[in-house]
């Protein structure tokens, strides 16, 4: 087993644990915005696509990379936008927030 794999697994397992602990605490009230937010964050895959486009190593990798950047960017922009729109709507009947 390469050290890359071991390092990757360490990071993956620890991040998954953090994910479980953090997301367990998210109020069910916000499950829909949670999903659109994680969707936007997941579109960080755009970094891999940007490298493909920027390096332009082959025609195929360039074309696939272009499509991938477009798809991921639309998720980033759309995901953050709609999450914020949804969260803006959640108001309390109490006059001041604790």
């Amino acid at each position: 087993m390469s050290s890359t794999l071991i390092n990757g697994l360490f990071v993956f397992i620890l991040a998954a644990f953090i994910g479980f602990e953090v997301i367990r605490r998210v109020s069910p009230l916000l499950h829909t915005p949670l999903m659109s937010l994680t969707n936007a964050l997941d579109a960080i895959a755009v970094v891999g696509a940007i490298v493909l486009v920027g390096r332009h190593e082959s025609r195929l990798s360039y074309l696939l990379g272009m499509l991938a950047v477009i798809a991921a960017t639309s998720n980033i922009v759309g995901g953050f936008l709609i999450t914020d729109r949804m969260l803006k709507m959640f108001k309390t009947s109490r006059p001041t927030q604790p």
């Binding site: 953090i18 390096r55 990798s61 960017t73």
Partner: protein, 465 residues
């Protein structure tokens, strides 16, 4: 190879900061009062990560990157501005886009590197592409069902699960062969094709009522495929983001399937449509009582405590704003109105909360199932708007019912139950609801939006004198 000496540590640091911001972003989602900071944190993290990536060595074609970013933004903005009722299908579509991106990058990496791919890299690359492509077509199917382009009823045929299992085995076997012989390029398109097909076939038998679980599961797959991509590219940032998304989707799927008293396997491999036949037999003719808007208004205004139970029918009828008017009118008359939210009400996790928040109903009036169930016995009126199976007492009492054991909202314990419904026809899952035949139950037949409007008008006209 760096543009400038010393850029690599800078790139790594932007990725590290972005990872921290992503975790904070999710942490701040724990409460509505901090959640918007979470969005900011996520946005800053994303900008940092993209900025850092642009510094990577070997990147020459900045113009194309800019064009793709602009085009993506152009598609993203309208997708961020859809109506709140369209959020479930928008979410499915964005799962599809995310998975599409991952599949494309995996495919490009394969053709760039093949045949010099280590076994480990080929294994995670296969996982990335198989998960990515089945999530892509699966999410498109789910989105099509939610948008009602495709039939929402589960489509089932004999041997469905066997076919899916065989396809998955073939895809995995192909991937296994590629791990040993990464030069066998001709196999790659076949694996992608089979995974595309598998995604379609997996979602075909799933009905609308199961969508909350399925959307969460697809969310989890999309995250895991991104994490696999992180292994391929040796990017810790991607592994972290993928793991966070994967665990989020997983937790939501567990919550959703628990709320339906079904296992994952049951949701994925046993379409709801198949169990219908058992329930039809042996129904004697029972009668339900109906009432007019005027009668309903009189009962509501005489109540002290009212609990509204919204369901998918409220979303379909777009009745949430009229429901807000009803809430305002009753609150002004001193009636305490709250909303009981079942975890699987609607078509995705948290669907009802978003619709009611959109209609300006304060979120502290929205109460989760566990917290409100004990209070139905002190509730004067339970008003069910477009919800069905989540209120079906057969889930508690009738062990032959397909939904037996599913946690429900105990609306039948309220003193009076009123149900707004189009007709007596059974709900989505095709299961009869004994709630409608109770002596305390009044059926209010009609479109949810129009009927609530009528009640509000009665309250405005009839009262105050």
């Amino acid at each position: 190879m760096n543009i400038l000496p010393g850029t690599q540590p800078i790139i790594e640091i932007t990725y590290l900061v972005a990872s921290v911001l992503f975790i904070l972003s999710l942490k701040w989602m724990s409460s509505p009062s901090t959640a918007r900071h979470g969005v900011r944190a996520g946005e800053i993290g994303m900008l940092l990560a993209i900025g850092g990536t642009l510094l990577q060595h070997g990147i020459v074609d900045y113009k194309s990157i800019a064009i793709a970013l602009v085009l993506g933004t152009g598609i993203g903005i309208p997708l961020g501005l859809v109506q709140m009722t369209a959020v479930p299908q928008r979410t499915a579509l964005s799962h599809a886009f995310g998975a599409f991106c991952v599949t494309l990058v995996g495919t490009a990496e394969f053709y760039l590197r093949s045949p010099d791919i280590s076994r480990f890299t080929m294994a995670v690359l296969s996982a990335e592409v198989i998960l990515g492509s089945l999530t892509f077509t699966g999410s498109l199917m789910a989105g099509g069902k939610l948008q009602e382009i495709l039939p929402q009823r589960p489509l089932t045929y004999k041997g469905q699960n066997l076919v899916n299992l065989v396809l998955l085995t073939i895809a995995l076997a192909g991937a296994g062969y590629l791990v040993l012989h990464p030069g066998a390029r001709q196999l790659f398109p076949a694996i992608v094709g089979i995974s595309f097909l598998l995604g379609v076939l997996m979602i075909i038998p799933i009905g609308g009522a199961d969508m909350p679980t399925v959307i969460s599961l697809l969310n989890s797959y999309a995250g895991l495929s991104a994490a696999a991509m992180g292994f391929v590219l040796d990017s810790k940032l991607l592994i972290i983001a993928g793991a966070l998304d994967g665990s989020s989707g997983f937790i939501l799927s567990v919550i959703m399937s628990k709320a339906m008293n079904r296992s994952f396997g049951n949701v994925l491999f046993g379409a709801f449509g198949q169990v219908q036949a058992a329930t039809v037999a042996g129904q004697e003719a029972r009668t339900a009582r109906s009432a007019t808007a005027e009668e309903a208004a009189a009962i509501l205004v005489a109540a002290n405590k009212v609990v509204v139970v919204p369901g998918y029918g409220m979303a379909v009828a777009q009745a949430q704003h009229k429901v807000r008017e009803l809430y305002d009118t009753l609150s002004k008359r001193g009636v305490e109105v709250r909303f009981a939210i079942h975890p699987v009400a609607g078509r995705m996790p948290g669907h009802m909360n978003v619709l009611l928040a959109e209609a300006d109903i304060p979120y502290d009036r929205l109460v989760e199932m566990e917290d409100i169930n004990g209070e139905f016995s002190q509730t004067d009126v339970a008003l069910v708007i477009g919800a069905n199976d989540v209120t079906n007492p057969a889930a508690r009492t009738d062990s032959s019912s397909p939904i037996y054991g599913m946690p429900i909202l105990d609306v039948d314990k309220a003193r009076t139950v009123m149900v707004i419904k189009r007709s007596m026809s059974p709900g989505f899952a095709g299961i009869d609801n004994p709630l409608y035949y109770l002596d305390k139950t009044l059926m209010l037949f009609g479109d949810a939006k129009l009927f609530v409007n009528d009640i509000v008008r009665e309250l405005a006209g009839g009262g105050n004198n």
